[in-house]
């Protein structure tokens, strides 16, 4: 990529399908560490991914895999200190956000990149009405009057299909059900029609019937506005329904990337395979579940070599000494599989059996 970072401080206008081929967002070799009393916890260790307009990237991983920390680094809401970004680039439309001033980032946050959090009840302020909180986006970013902001808030609530929006705009968060609260979070993220939305476990706290409603709404709005979406989740089921491509994270690294259908059909990393085998299926009753042995590693002491080696059924001496790069995955005859990569020394054996 040869795009030079212009120091205009303004983000270029066109929203989708830039002629330059620059992805909407690109994360390059991002590292994040936390300095704690017990030592340095390496939460993110060289993450690369990109999202285009209208595309959904799912970041899949267990707790502690660094998926949420990456998102917080992109949003610029990481607590620093104790957090620290020793190296890496986060390019939004070709501009490195890590080099921007706080004021420049503030202009992007909310209006260009917005985030939906997992727990809507604790993300909303309990002592302010939802209408006020929704309107805040317009008052702060666009300088609208209170009255206009409120009208906009009603419009937004309608857009995320909250019934009787006009009557409910003055209600407080506790007066809404879990699904409705999550819709308000979505409305808030949508308020300024951002180019990219990061959804961190948006449906984890919801019941399945409501989860289906919320995911459908999110997918529909994404199509309507041609937004990029980064969906962070640990649920392999949710991902299968909505994502275009998947990045699987383990111990702060991406261990496998693939278009969604191919990942499920032919995983190229033993961790992904283990995950897929260990979830019970609704449509079949198996005997015993496959269980990945052991526990996710402590981020203060990540194992040498491949971080997954102590739990991997395939691990050999090479895995204990050398950390695998993200290899491009190909067919048996060498035909390239676009978009696929696996950070395993033995990816050939894993995918081709």
């Amino acid at each position: 990529m040869t795009t030079t970072t212009e120091k205009t401080g303004r983000v270029p206008e066109p929203r989708a399908g830039d002629a330059s081929g620059t992805p909407l967002l690109e994360v390059r070799d991002l590292h994040v560490e936390f300095h704690t009393r017990d030592g340095v916890a390496k939460a993110v260790n060289g993450v690369n991914y990109s999202v285009n307009a209208g595309e959904t990237l799912a970041v899949l991983g267990e707790s502690g895999s660094g998926k949420s920390v990456t998102a917080q680094a992109i949003m610029g809401i990481l607590d620093m200190p104790p957090g620290k970004i020793p190296q890496g680039e986060i390019l939004f439309k070709g501009q490195d956000m890590l080099k921007m001033s706080a004021e420049e980032r503030r202009k992007i946050r909310g209006s260009k990149i917005a985030m939906i959090f997992q727990d809507a009840l604790s993300s909303l302020n309990p002592v302010l009405s939802v209408g006020y909180q929704l309107g805040e986006m317009f008052r702060v970013h666009q300088g609208l009057s209170k009255k206009d902001a409120k009208a906009k808030a009603v419009e937004l609530m309608d857009r995320v299909r909250i019934p009787a929006a006009k009557q409910r705009v003055g209600d407080y968060p506790h007066q809404f059900s879990g699904g409705m609260r999550q819709r308000i979070m979505i409305a808030m993220a949508l308020a300024l029609e951002p180019d990219l939305i990061i959804a961190d476990e948006p449906t984890t706290a919801l019941d399945v019937t409501v989860q289906a409603q919320v995911m459908d709404l999110l997918a529909e709005l994404q199509r309507e506005f041609n937004m990029g979406l980064i969906l962070i989740t640990h649920d392999l089921g949710v991902v299968a329904d909505v994502a275009d491509k998947i990045a699987v994270m383990y111990a702060g690294r991406i261990v496998e990337t693939a278009p969604v259908k191919e990942l499920y059909a032919r995983p190229a990393h033993p961790y992904t395979r283990g995950l897929l085998d260990s979830i019970p299926r609704l449509d079949q009753k198996g005997q015993e579940l496959y269980a990945i042995k052991g526990l996710p590693p402590n981020l203060l002491r990540i194992p040498a070599g491949c971080a997954f080696n102590p739990r991997c059924p395939r691990a050999e001496d090479l895995c204990r000494t050398e950390s695998p790069a993200l290899h491009a995955v190909t067919e048996r005859d060498g035909t390239a599989l676009p978009g696929r990569g696996s950070a395993c020394h033995f990816w050939k054996e894993t995918i081709h059996g």
Binding site: G179, Q213, H234, D241, S278, P280, E288
Partner: protein, 388 residues
């Protein structure tokens, strides 16, 4: 058609009482003295015989107004007439959305809450009427594994003390000198290193903590274990380990499980029979294949169709039913069928008559997997989970 005849009579008598006509008769034991009751409770139950029978269980939490003179202004009908049987050696899964009353059922079975009305028969003995030593004996035999392994273990107690605490309350279960040894054995049984006996809960991961919770549940050699969302707080890779452990223990110790969860895939995996709850009532109950492959209640169908399947090919082929709206408040549930406000089949009859949990008339007497108990006036089979 004996069932439907009974149904009609019951409806005529009182549309509001919940009669579940076709659950098996309870053989009520006639023990009256404490010693006799204890003897009944100690007697073994044959595999496949009912060990726990719940009849018309009701729990209403009062809603009050005022500070000093509390006036009852209504009630949250958390559980409103639930009946089911648990057979020895089986796993009964209970699924439902949050607020449907499944956890309240667990608390009632544990006698952690007092039922407003209804009966819970353990080996033919109504435990809601027991007290003192007899109740203590029941409690020894029914244990619980809690959802959150982070809050259900006392952070100031060592693992040895946590797992050994049941022996303090029931000293007859293990002689004093043997207790440490017993705890070590239990740690070994649940796959933890017995050397960890002096560690504190914070030194363990979520999956290991849940194993500690299970070891505590096993300490008194119970016959029934009630598991309230035992794996929901765990990561996927660890979930499988704990589910496998629970299945292994069931075979080893001949346990009967009531497995409460909102994750329908896990429930199918572990359960022999499954009950679906909605707003304090049982909507449908049957064997796992009857519920998952041949659901007849619209709520079950919607619930199953909403579960994301981790397979893009299968999920494209699926018949999806997206319900509108939310679960109504249990303080003011809809009249008639409680699901009617979100149901696409609802008609006038649904608002007037409470559907009974029984084999629907259309299927009665026929040998089809759809002939299982379903509380819907317009029950019909609809396959929503394509067979893999």
């Amino acid at each position: 058609m004996a069932d439907s005849a009974k149904n009609d009579k019951a409806v005529a008598a009182d549309a509001d009482t919940d009669v579940t006509p076709n659950v098996s008769e309870v053989e009520v034991s006639e023990a009256s003295t404490t010693a006799e009751v204890e003897a009944v409770l100690d007697a073994p139950v044959e595999r496949g015989e009912p060990i726990l029978q719940v009849r018309n269980l009701v729990k209403h939490f009062p809603l009050t107004q005022g500070i000093l003179f509390k006036k009852q202004i209504g009630a949250v009908k958390a559980v409103d007439g639930v009946s089911f049987d648990l057979y020895q050696g089986e796993t009964l899964g209970i699924v439902g959305e949050s607020g449907c009353g499944k956890s309240t059922v667990a608390k009632l079975l544990m006698m952690l809450e007092t039922a407003t009305s209804g009966e819970i028969f353990y080996k033919g003995q109504d435990i809601t009427k027991l007290s003192g030593r007899a109740l203590k004996a029941v409690r020894r035999n029914i244990q619980m594994v809690f959802q959150d392994p982070y809050t259900s273990l006392n952070p100031r107690m060592t693992v040895g003390d946590i797992i050994g605490e049941p022996f303090e309350i029931h000293p007859e279960a293990a002689p004093k000198g043997d207790r440490r040894q017993r705890v070590r054995e239990l740690l070994d049984v649940v796959g933890l290193n017995p050397e960890y006996i002096n560690r504190y809960p914070h030194q363990f991961s979520g999956g290991q903590r849940q194993r500690i919770g299970i070891a505590r549940g096993l300490a008194l050699n119970p016959e029934v274990i009630i598991c309230d969302e035992p794996v929901s707080a765990l990561d996927v890779s660890v979930q499988a380990q704990v589910v496998n452990l629970m299945e292994k223990l069931q075979d080893e110790f001949n346990l009967s499980y009531i497995f409460i969860a909102h994750d329908l895939s896990i429930v199918r995996h572990i359960s022999d029979r499954v009950g679906v709850m909605y707003l304090g009532k049982m909507a449908e109950i049957g064997s796992d294949s009857e519920i998952y492959d041949h659901p007849t209640h619209p709520y079950t169908q919607a619930l199953l169709s909403a579960v994301p399947v981790p397979d893009p090919a299968a999920s494209a082929a699926r018949d999806r039913i997206i319900l509108t709206g939310d679960v109504p408040s249990p303080a003011n549930p809809p009249s008639g069928c409680r699901f009617r406000t979100r149901c696409w089949k609802a008609q006038d009859k649904c608002a007037e008559e409470v559907p009974l949990l029984a084999v629907p008339e259309v299927f009665a007497g026929r040998k089809t997997p759809a002939a299982h108990e379903s509380a819907c006036h317009f029950a019909e089979e609809r396959q929503v989970v394509p067979a893999a």
